[in-house]
Amino acid sequence: MAVISAETENSSSKKVQITKEIGRSLWQDAWHRLAKNKLALACMIVFSFYIVVSLLVAFGILGATWSTTVGESYAAPDWNHWFGLDIFGRDVLMKALVGTQVAMSVGLVTVMISVPIGLLLGGISGYFGGVVDEIIVWFCSIISSIPSIMLLITVTFILGRGIFAIYLALGLTSWVGLCRMIRGEVLKHKNRDYVLAIDALGGSHRRKLFTHILPNVFHIVIIDASLTFQMAIKSEVILSYLGLGVQDLPSWGKMIDDSKLELARGVWWQLGAATLFMFLILLSLNFLGDLLRDALDPKLRGQE
């Protein structure tokens, strides 16, 4: 807002009531705005809860006994088993918790594979331009012209079934969007005067790209990561539902697949548990993505 910067020279402190702390970077500024937002806080709490659950499962503290039979087949939910039991008398809640760990690890590993690829290729392509740019853009077009589900199925067929195949399949196919966005932003920033000023000072390519341009486009990475994360969770569910996903562990997709036959017999709890667990994390990641964009995008500053 132009009105707020109503200060004449040499009077920076007098005119405007500076209630904000001074010397706050744009990152700190974004964090403060995010922390003030109750919805963002709630989403972050949900996300942290899922992370904690996944860690507990990963270290065998929680859900290690999911495969033991604890009661009758298809026993309805009660106080001991909140989401009832499945066909073999296993606790559905335990299965859903182990499924959480599978889903979260898929999300995390996918982001860890796709973000570096997208960032690197996008940065190089936008910064150097020319033939390198044309090759990378051509490669992006090829990948995005193949229907993603077909690409995923192909990759899992080649790599064999299992969770590692899913990690790789999702990671190697989901970097295209990020790459394109980074390329566009880098193109815009590399012609800004502050980068030209580094040229005038004799700065290297490395300094211009890594010290100046990339920090200025990094907010896109954070926003994109939150969206890729939830996309990966959804894709894992779909792949597992199709029988191409994880094999020996329970997953939300497999639970939904199982419940196809159960619903006819009035057994809704397996479907209910998987859907609820999935719904909560996807919703909060979606909100978080939007809120992150609002907080981090310099263009939207001061419009609240």
Binding site: M1, A2, V3, I4, S5, A6, E7, T8, E9, N10, S11, S12, K14, K15, V16, Q17, I18, T19, K20, I22, G23, R24, S25, L26, W27, R192, D193, Y194, L196, A197, I198, D199, A200, L201, G202, G203, S204, R207, H212, P215, N216, P298, R301, G302, E304
Partner: protein, 590 residues
């Protein structure tokens, strides 16, 4: 119907009648830092058929006033008290529906940026016809006739052809004319012009000002003209309002205010603009007339001394050595067309330019946008590769040097850009921004040495040490430009290229930065290449002036001669376009 028109014409002839009356208007903005009063208890009248000038620096509340008149404030802005009377109605109280019927028909507005005010996918004629049909309920054919008449009225060349053009096919001045045509289409009673010429070249600025003036007379409408530059408004306004920090500080007949300004702020504003016919040692600024808390100050007589600075420096120029010699410099950009992107032609941005700059002097480079002056500045620094010719810096040819060989020369030549908002990395603190040049060029320097250099420099450019921890978005435009100057000086350069370095600043801030540049020149024995479209600024700064047009230097003379005795007709045109404050008084004694 006929009577109606006669009545209206009579009403327009009736002088001294008030169209708008604004009483005790207060506008507040709800920001994340609390309530901000943008307009504070403002009262004024707009008489029929007169031009009212509203002057103030950015952030003074002048644009907010005009938006409040139109009831177009953003969602966080509110008119908290006051009345706006028009035809017996209070515009603050009427419904949004009623207000909408007034907007564009009775009150219309033109903005600063004609480039973004037009829809790029429709022809300008279609956009004009659309607004005519909307307000006047004409059929397509009559609306077209009306549009064509309007195009002729705002003097767009070849109106029959231009009416079918898309916005990108028109020049900036022509686009602003289209905006004016749209604004006057419904014969409004009030035309609000919000800095309508700030984004335009000087020569075009004058044409647009003349057009607004002549339309105002022929249509008998009232004009509210908003600007930060008293020079622009001096020939246009009948009545003048000066705003400072949300408040009205001075109002009166324009001639009176120019001759005998009462408020120290107005005096400061009038004095801070460089003039073509006077050459003071330093420009007077608002702070010479008024202290921080608004009390009037007695101007230091030493500051008022008008010296023939250029004359006294001529001798010095003769003695000093050449720091930069440019010989037949050419910068061509290839124009690639066709499927295989073959080079068919060249755009000659800099075309066979030669000149010499002496050490310790200022070399002015003037011209309109697109004349190649920025490319020339960047070519000298080899930010753009020259296509031919020689650049000789301190006796050494730097034209063919590689990036690594260029490195030692980079320390000696620096540049300050035009836009203080894009020339600082928004993610870096000022301290990091200033230490970066040292990191690149003297990596062996110790932390404490760097800190010493930086903290000395930040005070030299008029900022404080505690500013180092802050980030660029926490500074105003003038302060950012000071940071840019400090960054350019960290390496102790000898040649400094100022590329339109003060054009984006308010006149009052511009004067302070110009004074700073002169102080620094004396202290560090700097040589300036001063690039600007504003002749009065170049006249104030430069010893030698080169006038550029279409990539060529058309006139190269000492600053004094070029203004007193311009030889080339293009130079003449540029000089005539500078807005002059007639009867320029000297406010020596308060």
């Amino acid at each position: 119907m006929m009577n109606d028109i006669i009545d209206r014409t009579n009403a327009k002839m009736n002088k001294g009648e008030t169209v708008f009356e604004i009483k005790n208007l207060t506008v507040e903005f709800n920001t994340s830092d609390g309530m901000f009063k943008a307009v504070d208890n403002l009262s004024f009248v707009i008489p029929r058929g007169k031009t009212v000038g509203l002057v103030g620096e950015s952030g003074s509340g002048k644009s907010v006033t005009s938006l409040a008149l139109m009831r177009l404030l953003t969602r966080n802005g509110h008119i908290t008290s006051g009345e706006i009377h028009y035809q017996g109605k209070d515009l603050v109280k009427i419904s949004e529906e009623e207000m909408r019927s007034l907007r564009g028909s009775k009150i219309s507005m033109i903005f600063q940026e004609p480039m973004t005010s037009l829809n790029p996918v429709l022809t300008v004629g279609d956009q004009l016809i659309e607004s005519i049909q909307l307000h006047l309920k004409l059929n397509k054919k009559d609306a077209f006739e009306k549009a064509l008449a309007l195009f002729k009225q705002v003097k767009i060349p070849q109106p029959e052809v231009k009416i079918h053009s898309f916005p990108h096919e028109l020049s900036g001045g022509q686009k602003q004319r289209v905006m004016i045509a749209m604004a006057i289409a419904c014969d409004p009673e009030l035309l609000i012009c919000d800095e309508p010429t700030t984004a335009l070249d000087v020569t075009i600025q004058q044409e647009i000002l003349d057009l607004i003036k002549s339309l105002q007379v022929s249509l008998g409408m009232s004009v509210l003209f908003i600007t930060h530059d008293l020079g622009v408004i001096s020939n246009v306004a009948d009545h003048l309002l000066v705003m400072y920090r949300s408040k009205l500080v001075e109002e009166g007949n324009a001639q009176e205010v120019f001759k005998n300004p009462k408020h120290p702020y107005t005096r400061g504003l009038l004095s801070c603009r460089p003039k073509l016919d006077a050459n003071p040692n330093r420009l007077l600024t608002v702070s010479d007339y008024m202290s921080e808390d608004g009390t009037a100050l007695k101007v230091d007589p030493a500051r008022l001394v008008e010296v023939d600075r250029q004359g006294s420096r001529v001798e010095k120029i003769k003695e000093s050595e050449d720091i930069l010699v440019i010989r037949n410099l050419k910068t061509y950009f290839p124009i690639r067309t066709g499927f295989f992107k073959t080079v068919r032609n060249h755009f000659k941005a800099v075309d066979d330019v030669s000149f010499t700059i002496k050490k310790g002097t200022s070399f002015g480079l003037v011209g309109e946008s697109g004349c190649g002056k920025t490319t020339l500045g960047r070519t000298i620094l080899k930010l753009v590769e020259p296509s031919g010719g020689d650049i000789i810096f301190k006796g050494q040819h730097i034209t063919g040097l590689t990036k690594a060989e260029m490195r030692p020369f980079r320390k000696k030549m620096q540049i300050i850009f035009q836009d203080p908002y894009s020339s600082l990395d928004p993610r870096m603190s000022v301290e990091k921004i200033l230490s970066e040049p040292l990191e690149i060029n003297s990596p062996e320097m110790s932390r404490s040495e760097k800190n010493h250099i930086i903290s000395t420099l930040i005070e030299k450019v008029g900022l404080r040490k505690n500013h180092l921890k802050r980030y660029p978005h926490e500074f105003s435009g003038g302060q950012r430009q000071r940071i840019c100057i400090a960054r350019a000086l960290t390496l102790n350069p000898e040649l400094l290229i100022c590329d339109e370095s003060v054009s984006a600043l308010d006149v009052s801030v511009q004067a302070q930065v110009l004074n700073l540049l002169l102080d620094l020149q004396e202290e560090f024995k700097l040589t300036y290449v001063f690039i600007s479209h504003d002749l009065s600024v170049v006249n104030f700064m430069a010893d030698t002036v080169a006038v550029m047009n279409e990539g060529k230097i058309v006139e190269l003379e000492s600053a004094k001669n070029i203004y007193q005795n311009p030889k080339h007709h293009y130079t003449q045109k540029l000089i005539n376009a500078v807005p002059k404050i007639t009867n320029y008084p000297v406010f020596a004694l308060n």
